[in-house]
C-alpha cells in the first residue's frame, strides 16, 4: 500500500537519498567510464593547481560516502514504509546533474584539472557535457513537482472517500 502520510513526512529524506546517490553514482561512472575504460582523461592531468587537487580529493571522498549513505537512506525509508520512488528519482537526477555541471564548469574550466578529451575540438564535448547536466537538473525538478502533485491529489482522494 502506498503510505502517503509516511511519504510526506519523509519527503526531504527521499530527496536527499536521491541527491546523494545520484551524485556518487555519476562520480563513479565518470571515473570508470572516462578515466578507466575510454582513457579520455587520465588519473592525474595537472600537477600545478594544488587547490584543484584538494577539491578533487575531497569531492571523491565525499562521493564515495554519498553513494553508500544514499543507499542506506533508501533502506531506512523502506523500513519506515516511506520510500517514494518519484521523489527519489528527482533527487537522483538533480544530484547527478549537479555533479556533472560542477565537473564540467569548475573542475574543467575554472581549475583546469582535466578536460573531457584532448587533441580534439573541445567545444562540442563541453556543450554536450554541460547541456546534459542542465537537462538532468531540469528533469529532476519536474519530477519533484509532479511527485508533490501526486501527493496532493492522493490527499484529496482520501478526503473525498471519508
Amino acid at each position: 500500500m502506498k503510505n502517503w502520510s509516511n511519504r510526506k513526512s519523509y519527503q526531504k529524506r527521499n530527496l536527499w537519498a536521491g541527491i546523494l546517490f545520484g551524485l556518487g553514482f555519476v562520480a563513479f561512472l565518470d571515473e570508470t567510464l572516462f578515466h578507466q575504460l575510454l582513457h579520455w582523461h587520465k588519473f592525474y592531468d595537472k600537477s600545478t593547481v594544488a587547490i584543484g587537487l584538494v577539491s578533487d580529493g575531497l569531492f571523491h571522498a565525499f562521493s564515495w560516502f554519498a553513494t553508500v549513505g544514499g543507499l542506506y537512506l533508501v533502506a531506512d525509508l523502506r523500513r519506515r514504509n516511506a520510500l517514494w520512488h518519484k521523489m527519489f528519482w528527482g533527487g537522483k537526477l538533480i544530484g547527478g546533474g549537479a555533479f556533472q555541471l560542477y565537473d564540467g564548469t569548475i573542475q574543467h574550466k575554472v581549475m583546469r584539472i582535466h578536460q573531457i578529451r584532448y587533441h580534439v575540438d573541445i567545444v562540442p564535448y563541453d556543450i554536450v557535457w554541460n547541456g546534459a547536466a542542465i537537462v538532468m537538473i531540469a528533469a529532476g525538478l519536474l519530477l519533484i513537482k509532479s511527485a508533490q502533485q501526486d501527493a496532493r491529489s492522493a490527499e484529496r482522494l482520501v478526503l473525498h472517500a471519508t
Partner: protein
Amino acid sequence: MIAVLLYGGAVFHSNRQRRLRKWPRRRTVLWIAGVFASVSAVAGPLAELSHDQFTWHMLGHLLLGMLGPLLLALAAPMTLLLRTLPVRQARKVSRLLKSRLAGFYTHPVVASILNIGGLWLLYTTGLFAVMHHHLWLHIVIHIHVFVAGYLFTISLLYIDPVSRRYSYRYRTAVFIVALAGHGILSKLLYAYPPAGVPIEEARAGAMLMYYGGDAVDLMMIILLFSSWYHSTKRQRSHIPSTSTRHAHANETTQNAPAS
C-alpha cells in the same frame, strides 16, 4: 604466530565459562586473517619484494596499514581480553582504556592525523629514502604504520568498548577528510615519486594506493553506515515499547480499586 595462539587460548578459555555466550567463530577467522595480512607485509616473500619495488611496497602498506588493522579490529580483541581476564585485572584494563591518554589516541582526529599525516611525512620528505638505510628506522616506521592504522580503524568503528563515543555525523566528517587526504597523497605520488623511485613504479604504486585504499575504505564506510542504520532501528523500536508500558500502567491504575 604468538598473536594467533594467544587469541585462540583466550577464545578457548572464554568458551569454557558457562555464564558467557560462545565467542563467535567468525571473529577468530577475522583475527587469523588480520594477523596473516599484517605479518605478510613485514616477513616473507612480499617483504623481500617490497624492498626493491615500490609497487610491492605499496601492497605491503595496504596490508599492514589498512586491511590488517581492519580485520584485527573486527575480531574485537579487547572485548575478548576483558572477558578472559580475572575481574581484578579486567578492571585495571578498563581503567586504562578510560584514561585520558587512551582517549587522546583514539580521538578520531588525532588517530587520522597520526595515520594519514604519518604517510605524508613518510612519502613527501626524504624519510622514505632514509628508511631503507637504517634498519631501526625501518622497524619503527612499520610499527607506526600498523599502530596508526589500527587506532584509525577503532577510532571510527566502535567494535570494542570505547571510553568516549563520538557521533556518527562527527566520525563521518572526519573520515571524509582523512579519505581525501589519502587520495590526494596517492595522486601526488603519481606525479612526484619519492626520491629514488622510478616514475613507472611510482605510478603503478600510487594507483594501487588510490584504488586499494578506496576498496578498504569502502568496507569501512559500509560498516560505519550499517551500524548507524542499526542504531536508529534500536531507538525506534524503543519508543513504542515504552508507550505500551505507559498504557499498561495507566490501565492498572485505572482498574485498581479506589482506596
